[in-house]
Amino acid sequence: MRKVYIVGIGMTKISRHFNKSLRELFAEASLKAIDDSGNIKPGAVVVGNMMSSSLQEQDDLGALLADNIGLRGSAALKVEAACGSGGFAVATGYTLVASGLYDIVLVGGVEKMTDYPTADTTKALAQAADAEYEVFYGASFPALNALLMRLYMERYGATREDMALWPVMMHDNSYHNPYAQLRFKTTIQHVISSPIIADPIRLLDSSPIGDGAAVVILASEEIAKKITDTPIEIAGVGLSTDSVDLATREDLLTARSIRLAAHKAYKMANVEPKYIDVAEVHDAFSINAMLVLEELGFAERGKAWKMLKEGRFRPGDKPTVNPSGGLKARGHPVGATGVYQVAEVAMQLRGDFPGVRVDKAEIGLAQNMGGVAVSTSVIILKR
């Protein structure tokens, strides 16, 4: 396989973009990324998106979006793995370049979530769960995560206040990120007294609903070295799945797909967790952050909340986790999130991320997942 590099990056701010459609958001991020790459022309377009089928009632999204940015005639497809679509799209784009089939591929994640009342959006989001055996009973996506949060607190002794440390840290970071949706600070007291969604999950444990698009341009080594002084290598890619339903897992608090995907990515990149300078991880709810930190090998099982309490993972620590503010506060336009993460980590390595910056970062990691740790991607980048 050929080496693959990120040579262009573009993002929109995540927001309730009432004046922008899905295709406009995608075009905005794409044109920025193409410009950032020095105007190279991609031969293929890979789109990470979850809900265009249910919310925009639009299929064949790849072709629609490619045509809109002047790439009529190119290969184009959509990759869907629920909230993990973005990471899987980057992985798909990676294989197109690594295989030699294409030299330049545009990978974009996009989601438009705010055109309808919240109940419509949460219904579409629930499609990430098992329709016949979870959604059927009225289990929403927050509800499934709440089942894990209660069990985690019970088994490992974390209090409600301990779990609130994560959102507080994320809001501290997003405050400095101009692309973030929620740019305000919060407190433990605010988190634990915010409205209950699915007990014990409260509003401020949850990522917000927002619109956004992020794009990375991938290129072969030959092209990357010609057009940029700061190519970022995709050094490791790991993908894995677990059961969509929660109940048939051996242990509810063992997120197997994360562990397997991470193992594969670390091995391919020839690194260990302790080498990672900066990570962007999937924290749709506070409980997700704990499980992810543990399965990635940044914390022992059941101890992520203790490390957080000791002040770990903040700016200045190694790894610094979610300097963007994470899904919690940067925002979570679901199918776009995985591409935002890869774009943010690449900018950290290039040294031009416009928010909280991790100095002299050499190795970064992006972890994205669909469902409750169902479809996980771990992507490792090197400067």
Binding site: A119, F136, Y137, G138, S140, L147, L151, D199, A247, L252
Partner: protein
């Protein structure tokens, strides 16, 4: 969710009677049912009736409920470990949120899950209630 008579009818043995599939090789039971055993890879799975009693191992109380469930709010969803160790996800019924606890003994009972008034379809399934 959208339902049709065929969609409800196909799942009836699982939803009405708490039937799972069991791996003939390793003995593990699955609800929702699987065709191939995810644990040992065996293709020999058969339908088995699950025990009707167990205990709550975790639960949540939904204050924001999906459309179609408003009359059930607040909705309690739990994961129950049955007497044979099989875990199932199901709603709790006949109990107030403040009375639910981890470890609470529960038993299966057939209840309405939701109805689609326009089509006249009523979805039934096993829920769990406290053992009196």
């Amino acid at each position: 969710m959208r339902v049709s008579p065929a969609r409800l009818w196909r799942e009836k043995i699982y939803h009405y009677r708490l039937v799972a599939t069991m791996c003939k090789k390793c003995g593990k039971k699955y609800f929702p049912p699987k065709v191939v055993c995810p644990l040992c890879g065996s293709k020999g799975l058969e339908k088995v009736k699950l025990p009707e009693r167990g205990k709550v191992i975790t639960y949540t109380v939904l204050h924001v409920v999906p459309r179609g469930f408003r009359e059930n709010a607040p909705l309690i969803i739990a994961i129950i470990e049955l007497e044979d160790g099989t875990k199932v996800l199901a709603p709790l019924t006949d109990v107030k949120p403040s009375e639910v606890s981890i470890g609470m003994p529960v038993e299966a009972t057939l209840r309405k899950v939701f109805d689609e008034a326009e089509k006249g379809l009523i979805a039934y399934a096993v829920k769990f209630r406290p053992i009196l």
